[in-house]
């Protein structure tokens, strides 16, 4: 703590010549004294260091040499005005001030002004602080604030989306529950009343009626199982949990089994006519196909009246199966065709039929899992024909390793290859490429010749030496000037080469040719 007396003594000391000199010499801020014409009379070491001039270089110069060119003119005016009415104040209040070093560097400063008279001459004193560091940290702070704000915004958006998604799922679940309870009640009614009747027919000793009701109980349980399966399928599909599991089986026998399952669900006088044409052994996911067929057939049964005919056609070629389910039912109003595959959608003429509005949505998603398609034609009160098609031969996705140091070429090529159904891995130089080949055993390699580190020729040489990699098809991508390298590469066993720029369909042709010869 200083006492008031101490303070006064210090002020007196400052006022002395020696005290002033110490302040002037050792202050780290720049101090400049100018006369009324703007000429520099004195510059302290702080100022010479700040601006990069010697004392001699500054003395006698116009103060404006320390100001960026564009601002000089204005400064002259300000300076003249200041000497009209000099007072101590910060300069350019609220404005950003800039100064210029000898080497031309422009930097932000803070300046305060003072004045005194010496031998009748008006002098101005400027105290100059370099605030580059402060500005920089302010800038950094602002930037990090902005980044933070952006992150908060992004996160908020993500959270809002997640919340929306959660809401959607909740809505779906509650619709599930109300549909499920409704759908379950009708078959449960039948089961309950049939059981009551079986009881009574035991007493009445009516064997035939008893059998009928036991059958009825069985088929109602079947209906319940169907509905339950639909709900479970949808739940699994929603969660992406279903994957096609393939096995080889006789499609005709399989469809006959499905038709047997439909027994007991047909209305009185309804009949399903089944035509099968083509090869019988196929490899597909049985469970998915069974679900699809049961769904389509039970729709046909449900939406057509008693005594109507339902047709099931299967046409199976080596590479494609086509199955049609044709009914003579109530049909779908034309303006509602486009909604038919939506979840929970019920056509307006179907509202009073039992149903969840899930079946066709599930079928469509199952068909996607089978890489197949579903189409329908329908005429109101005439009937509906649903056609499903699915491939029987599936191309295994070939993996292509692209070794290319130019990021643009590699990104574009990779994207186009992916769209064409290939799995693409990318390496940015030969060394990286070699280690990826070792790990991932690609089906084919596309390799640039000119690359830093290990070039394409060297990559090929390494591959050809090893048994495990020597037979992987190898295609060079080259700039046409590298003729010597192309020849060398082909001699070493490269399968093909493509000169950049190449057309994309040519690339695909070459790749497919290589894969075929493999």
């Amino acid at each position: 703590m200083y006492s008031a007396v101490d303070m006064e003594e210090k002020i007196i000391a400052v006022e002395s010549e020696a005290g002033f000199r110490v302040l002037f010499e050792y202050a780290t801020l720049g101090i400049l004294v100018t006369n009324a014409n703007g000429r520099i009379e004195l510059a302290n070491p702080g100022a010479t260091k700040l601006f990069g001039y010697d004392t001699a270089e500054l003395t006698g110069q116009l103060i404006e040499i320390l100001i960026p060119e564009g601002l000089r003119h204005r400064h002259v005016q300000h300076r003249d005005k200041y000497f009209d009415k000099p007072k101590a104040r910060p300069m350019g209040l609220g404005m950003e001030l800039f100064a210029k070093k000898k080497d031309g560097t422009i930097f932000p400063v803070e300046i305060s002004l003072g004045h005194y008279q010496l031998g009748g001459e008006q002098l101005a004193v400027a105290f100059i602080t370099d605030i580059s560091a402060r500005k920089e940290s302010e800038q950094k702070l602002r930037k990090s604030n902005e980044e933070l704000e952006n992150r908060v915004r992004e996160r908020t958006l993500e959270l809002t989306e997640a919340l929306e998604h959660q809401k959607e799922i909740n809505e779906l679940k509650s619709r599930f529950v109300s549909f499920a309870s409704h759908e379950f009640r009708t078959p449960l009614s039948t089961i309950l009343s049939s059981i009551a009747l079986v009881d009574r027919y035991i007493d009445l000793n009516n064997e035939e009626k008893r059998k009928k009701h036991i059958e009825r109980i069985k088929s109602s349980v079947k209906t319940l199982t169907f509905i339950l399966n639909d709900f479970l399928s949808l739940d699994k599909l929603e969660q992406g949990k279903i994957e096609a599991e393939k096995e080889t089986f006789d499609l005709e026998l399989f469809v006959r089994d499905v038709l047997e399952e439909m027994d007991g669900l047909l209305k009185e006088g309804q009949k399903i006519v089944f035509h099968y044409d083509g090869i019988r052994k196929i490899t597909k996911d049985k469970e998915i196909l069974r679900n699809v067929l049961l769904n389509l057939l039970s729709n046909a049964v449900k939406y057509s009246t008693e005594d109507k005919l339902i047709t099931l056609n299967a046409i199976v070629a080596a590479d494609m199966a086509i199955i049609e389910v044709i009914d003579q039912g109530i049909g779908v109003p034309e303006d509602e065709h486009k909604f038919l595959f939506n979840k929970f959608f019920r056509a307006k003429n179907a509202i009073n039929f039992q149903g969840t509005g899930l079946g066709l949505n599930i079928v469509k998603r199952y068909m996607e899992l089978m890489n197949g398609t579903i189409d329908f034609e329908s005429q109101l009160n005439e009937g509906t024909k649903v056609t499903i098609k699915f491939p029987l031969i599936e191309h295994k996705k070939s993996t292509i390793l692209l070794i290319e140091d130019n990021a643009e070429i590699s990104e574009n090529t990779a994207e186009l290859l992916e769209i064409s159904g290939f799995k693409v891995r990318v390496a940015f130089n030969g060394t990286e490429g070699l280690s990826m080949i070792e790990k991932e055993h690609p089906d084919i390699i596309l390799c640039d010749i000119q690359m830093p580190e290990t070039n394409g020729i060297e990559v090929l040489a390494v591959l050809k030496k090893k048994k495990s990699t020597s037979s992987i098809p190898f295609i060079f991508l080259t700039a046409s000037v590298e003729k010597k390298e192309i020849l060398e590469g082909l001699k070493m066993g490269a399968d093909e080469y493509l000169c950049k720029p190449f057309e994309f369909n040519v690339l695909i042709e070459v790749i497919e040719r290589c894969l075929k010869n493999k």
Binding site: R185, L197, N352
Partner: protein
């Protein structure tokens, strides 16, 4: 005298089973598969009580109710609605003092509702 019950339901099993149960209990039973068919039978046969489903093609339970109530020959017939889940119809039934049976119902509940309507 044998009482006549009309059962209106589009679902074959529910319709037949309900009819059978009631026949075994000594009722004369008529059946219809939708509201329109049901209304015609109601007008011609004037049953003592009607059991009517809510969700049906052609004309649903609500539509049937409107027709029956507008016609003075049928408006006094006791009605029992049964449904697998129609809250609005349940509310309406309660407001108008109709019986309402929620599916699935037991034979005991069915007979109790009919007995109640017939004041036997």
């Amino acid at each position: 005298m044998m009482k006549t019950v009309l059962v209106i339901d589009d679902n074959l099993e529910v319709r037949e089973n309900t009819a059978e149960l009631l026949e075994l209990e000594g009722f004369n039973v008529l059946t219809a598969t939708n509201g329109l068919d049901g209304f015609e039978q109601t007008k011609i046969n004037l049953p003592d009580v009607v059991l009517c489903d809510v969700m049906m093609p052609e004309l649903d339970g609500m539509g049937y109710l409107n027709l029956v109530k507008k016609d003075s020959t049928t408006s006094k017939i006791p009605l029992i609605f049964f449904s697998a889940g129609s809250a609005p119809m349940e509310v309406k039934s309660m407001q108008h003092d109709y019986s309402f049976l929620r599916k699935p119902f037991t034979d005991v509940a069915l007979l109790a509702a009919i007995t109640h309507c017939l004041h036997i």
